[in-house]
Symmetry: C2
Subunit: 240 residues, 2 copies
């Protein structure tokens, strides 16, 4: 006769969560089946198309959301309109600045995305109950801090060529959360304008640098968006 461990028995895991990535690598991995049921009752999956604003800067935060598929960008804008992308969120990241009353960034979809929306009180109550959950949220915040600091070096000290190479390398290593290694062919989840705002450049400079990488046979590009990395080592080298 087979032993059944309660916490992984699928009949106790909400249908919504059964094939969900956030339950493994994401924050829901810190929850028991029981907690998962409680949380899933208040959550709902939604789809958002490319270019939608999920939350504006200085808007009150009403909830959190797990990214299940796609890419979400966090941006800040200066008064005169200059824009900077300050973060990219991939599955299974949690969206939403924990414990903040209002957003300090604008949150927009960079591609089509699937989200699992969680009301703010629901997740925060569960964080108070479960140290393990709060710990996992903290670990994500710390990882985001590491990534932000890595990117500050790129923004402050790299040339345009190095910035574009760094961006392509980042996407190659982050686009598919299930892969540990970099993948060498993928669709860019960002427009040239978004890439420029992420790198602190203009679209023209981004375009020129991409063309140079193409001319140097480091990458190939079809239909503006579909990238094949022909020489990953060379791309890595050009990151500075």
């Amino acid at each position: 006769m087979q032993t059944v461990r309660k916490d992984i028995h699928n009949s106790e895991v909400p249908v919504l969560c059964q094939s969900c990535e956030a339950r493994h690598q994401g924050i829901c991995g810190a929850l028991s089946a029981e907690q998962l049921v409680t949380l899933s009752k208040q959550s709902r999956r939604v789809h958002r198309s490319e270019g939608e604003e999920l939350l504006g800067d200085a808007m009150p935060i009403t909830g959190y959301a797990n990214v299940l598929r796609g890419v979400v960008k966090l941006t800040k804008v200066l008064e005169d309109g200059r824009q900077q992308v300050v973060g990219l969120q991939f599955a299974p990241d949690l969206l939403g600045r924990p414990f903040a009353q209002e957003s300090r960034v604008s949150v927009e979809t960079a591609s089509d995305v699937d989200l699992c929306m969680i009301p703010k009180p629901a997740l925060e109550a569960m964080m108070r109950d479960s140290g393990a959950l709060e710990h996992r949220v903290m670990m994500q915040a710390l990882r985001e801090l590491d990534e932000a600091r890595d990117w500050m070096v790129t923004l402050g000290r790299k040339t345009a060529g190095e910035k574009v190479a760094s961006f392509l390398y980042l996407i190659a290593t982050h686009i598919d959360p299930s892969e540990d290694e970099a993948i060498t062919t993928f669709d860019l989840p960002l427009s040239r304008a978004d890439i420029a705002d992420f790198l602190g450049l203009t679209i023209e400079t981004v375009s020129r640098q991409i063309s140079k990488l193409k001319a140097d046979k480091v990458i190939e590009i079809a239909n503006y968006r579909h990238v094949t990395v022909r020489d990953l080592a060379q791309l890595r080298l050009r990151c500075g």
Copy 2:
């Protein structure tokens, strides 16, 4: 007869901690007198002079430290020597990337500093016991993340003049943790080289922009380091 609340009765607070800023605004504010005693037994106050390296990049982390006075800079270096300051820590910030095995930044004193060193196992054990402590550490990490993202806008989208104004404004509002408002006269805690590495500029450009602010009567400078802000509104305006 006076009521004595145990948790604030000074005779129970370790001597080391009695006049310590970290006990109020810093992470130690989350601790009971009893926990404070436990932690203080394993901690020690130390002084470090300007320009000392506290921890190298990729070095194993042996402990945490509260900044009690002075400024500490976190830097990253590219292989060819280009350097970027990715964070500044003022009192009563906690130094040390929580739960990391090794450092991802180089930690150096930017000025003379006083620190309260805490062994890694001691603080982490107490975080496991005290959700309130872990929560406070998390809140600091989230604040640092907010600050890093603010700075990404400065690095990616501001002109040299705006960068220097932003730096001076940051120092005016952060140098003295006891002041809520910006203070208008202070000593720069960073050399021109450090400022340049923080702003992603060269020392020459930093110098030129400071001279311009001086010529425009926005600030005055004595002895290279002592700054008086003559027109704070104008300085704010020039931050972009």
